[in-house]
Every structure is written in structure tokens, then in C-alpha cells.
């Protein structure tokens, strides 16, 4: 199985959740993070010279899914999370070796 982790704009969370829901992907874990991207986060021109680089609030979503679901999920996230502006975020795919339910016995 795979873990799909997406860092998105906080404002896009509802849209992404709904888009995933519509395609039948429900389970997910969400957390609030801060981040900066390849553009060194955001550069704010300050008083001509000073450049302030800082991290800004993001939302991290991750979903542990079957291998074949990775592609449709990443596609859905990309479509629903995109604004075309800097800071749209990233998706990472990593391996999961086992998933265990706590309530049910496996």
C-alpha cells in the first residue's frame, strides 16, 4: 500500500475533500503545518533591500491507499487544489507496509 501525502493551501481543503469524496475516497488524516517551498517560501520585498523569508500555514492531508488508487487520488488532489499560483503545494508518495484497524481484529 501507499501513503499519499499532500501539502495544500488551507483555503483549498474543503474543495479537495469534496473532490475526493465525490470519487469515493473518504479516509484521510489532516493536520495543520507550516511550510516553505522551492521558491524559498515567499519573498517579501521589505524597504527595498531586506528580504524576509518565512513559512506559511498549510494543510497536510494524508491517505493510505491501495497502489492502484494512487494515480486517481493524486490527479484529484492536483485538480482540486490548484490555483496556478505559487504555493499550491506538493504531493509525496511513500510506501506503507502494513495497515491495522484498531477496532476490528485486522
Amino acid at each position: 500500500m501507499k501513503q499519499v501525502t499532500a501539502i495544500i493551501r488551507p483555503e483549498k481543503l474543503e474543495e479537495v475533500k469534496t473532490a475526493l469524496e465525490d470519487r469515493g475516497y473518504f479516509p484521510m488524516t489532516i493536520s495543520e503545518v507550516k511550510g516553505r517551498g522551492a521558491q524559498k517560501g515567499i519573498c517579501i520585498q521589505y524597504r527595498g533591500s531586506q528580504i524576509k523569508v518565512d513559512t506559511i500555514p498549510k494543510v497536510e492531508i494524508y491517505m493510505v491507499v491501495n497502489d492502484e488508487d494512487v494515480r486517481p487520488i493524486t490527479d484529484t488532489i492536483r485538480k482540486s487544489a490548484r490555483t496556478g499560483k505559487f504555493g499550491d503545494g506538493k504531493i509525496f508518495v511513500s510506501p506503507i507496509e502494513e495497515v491495522i484497524g484498531i477496532r476490528t481484529d485486522e
Binding site: 488551507p10 517579501i44 500555514p57 505559487f86
Partner: protein, 398 residues
Amino acid sequence: MPISAGDTAFIIICTALVMLMTPGVGLFYGGMVRRKNLISMIAMSFVSFAIVSIQWVTVGYTLSFGSDIAGFIGGLDHLFLNGVGMDGDGIPDMLFMVFQLAFAGVTLAILTSGVAGRIKLSSFMVLGVLWTTLVYDPLAHWAWGGGWAHSLGALDFAGGTVVHISSGFGALALALVIGNRVGFGKYSMEAENVPITLLGGAMLWFGWFAFNAGSALAADGLAVNALVVTNISAASGAITWMLASWIKGKPSSLGLISGAVAGLVAITPGSGFVGPMAAIFIGGSAGLLCYSALLFRVRKGLDESLDAWAVHGVGGFWGAIATGIFATAAIGGVNGLLYGNPGQFVIQLVDASVAAIYAFGMTYILAKLVDKIMGLRVTEEEEYVGLDISQHGESTIA
């Protein structure tokens, strides 16, 4: 009349309570924006209060309460508080001055909501001084300083027109000039800290007692009437807005508190003129009316971000008219429509309309001006990272 210790005690404390409304506004709005702008919203309320405090004791007070010039503005006789002393009529003149200062401060703080999350701090400071001087001060003069509205007999007990119509319609103009937030309508910009908004709302409800009751300028029966109807109207507005939003979904606590504020706004002009049972109706209909205005505003795709227009503008307008309907001579010496004086209703309508148009138009001009000279809006990048970081270099944890 000599200085009365009772009245002076009353108005000093009322001044403190009204002052607390300004950070109250900051918290109220701060909870409604995205976290990255939370500090900015609160800070702007303090900035408003600080700059108005200085503006008022230098030029603002005299422009509002100096000797009348053509019904439009006060003269410069009280420049730098010249002639405003520790004695007076019932309460020291100086006390009246500072009580009024607190009103001017909170009004500017309300105005910040229209430009939440996208105004440059420096431009806001310049705009704030201009706005208080050219919008607030004239309106205060018209209603309370001997201006034309006063002469006409328009009733505004505690600032429905001066405070709420001015800031509500001003915020609307400001929002039009500065434009919608990036992504407005495309993604959710829901309130991110409801408890802070509720706390701010509590501070407003609390301070409003002083705002309205204190406007009697004496600790007497009239002040008590204002106190009573203020609370009734707030409660009534809270209930109707909550119920209305319940029909459409869940009864959010934001609806509840917004309704309370709507009720508080609507009773403000009439609090010294209408009775308790009228207040149930005035507040209740304010809840429904302001909620409808909010829905209308959203449908129009207009980012008047935290609904100063819907709540303060529309609520204040309704309050002005309602005063013209429900005023009864038994309380404030003037009758309204219901008590056989339709003329008062017309006067109220005229007064509120002129104030709304003036506030909207003048704010529009000032905003355009500041925008031209120094730019009103932060860059898109600054907006994206949020005003906390970009304007203040600070951020809320997590």
C-alpha cells in the same frame, strides 16, 4: 448645573467600557478571518484607537463639537482642547469630550473589517486619519454638534447614524475600492477561531450598555431605559438570526452573536426613544434583516469581508427608521409614526439616507485617493502569506 458626582462617575466608567469595545471589535473580527490575519485584525483595532485618540484631542473634537459652521462642520474653537475644561454642566466638558472619543475610536475599528486581510498598514493609518476627520467628524457634528440633522430634529440617541451607518456604508465603499480577497468565492474563508469571536462579541455586548446608556449623559431613568432596550434588542436579534440560520442549516454560534450585534446596532439610535416591547421587535427584525443583507451580499459575490455593511450599515439604517416608527414621547419626548407623528419617520429616513450616501461617497473618494498616492492594498504575495507576517512580522503559533 454643577458637576454631579453620580453622573460623572457614570460617564467615566461608561467611557472605559466603550473603550473596551475597540479591542472587542478586533477580537470579534479577528476570529472570523484566517489565522494568518488574526493578529492584524486585532492590531488594527488598537491602531484605530491610538490614532483617533490623538486626532480627537487635537482636531477631531472641535470639528465635531465646535461652534457650527453652515450646519456642516464644527469650528476650530476647541482646537487642542482649548476651552474644554474640568467643569461643565452636570458632567465636566472634558468628560463629554473623552466619552465621544471612545465612539470615534470604535467606529474606525469597525471600518477595518471591509478590508480584512489585504490592506497595507501604512495606508490604513493615513486613511484612518482622513476618514475620521472627513467622514466621522462631520457626521458627529450633524447629529450631535448642532449640524443640519440636529436642526432638522433627526433622532440618533447613541450613534446609529454617526457610528453604524458611517462605518457600515464606509466599509462597503472601501471593499469596492480595494477589491475582493484573492480566491474569494473560490475557496473557503471560514471563521477560524470562533471562540475569539464569541469573546469579542461578549465585550461588545458588555460595552454597548455603556455606549447606549451613557449617551443619556446622566445616570437617570433615560439611561436605564437605554440599558434595558439595548439588552432586549440584542437578545431578540440573537434569537431571530439563530433561528433563521437554523432553517437553512445549523444554528451557528456565529449567527447567534452576529444577530446580537445586529440587534445592538439597530437599537442604538432609538435607545433613548423607544420602549422595551418595541425593542423586542426592533432587535428581532434586525436579526432577520441583517442576515438577509448578508446573504444578499454573498450572492452578489462582493467581498465586504466581515459584513460591516450588512450588520452595521443595514442594521443602523433600520434602527434610524425604527426610531421614527416606535419613538414615544413618554420616554424621550418625541413621538414616531406609530404614535401619530409621521413627520419624524420622514426625517429619520432623510437623515439616514443622506448619511449613508455621504459616508459611502466620501469614503470611496478617500480610498481612491489613498490608493492613488500610496497604494491601498498589499501585494499578492503579502496577502498570501497573511498580514500578520507581512505587516507586523508576527504570527500565531501552530
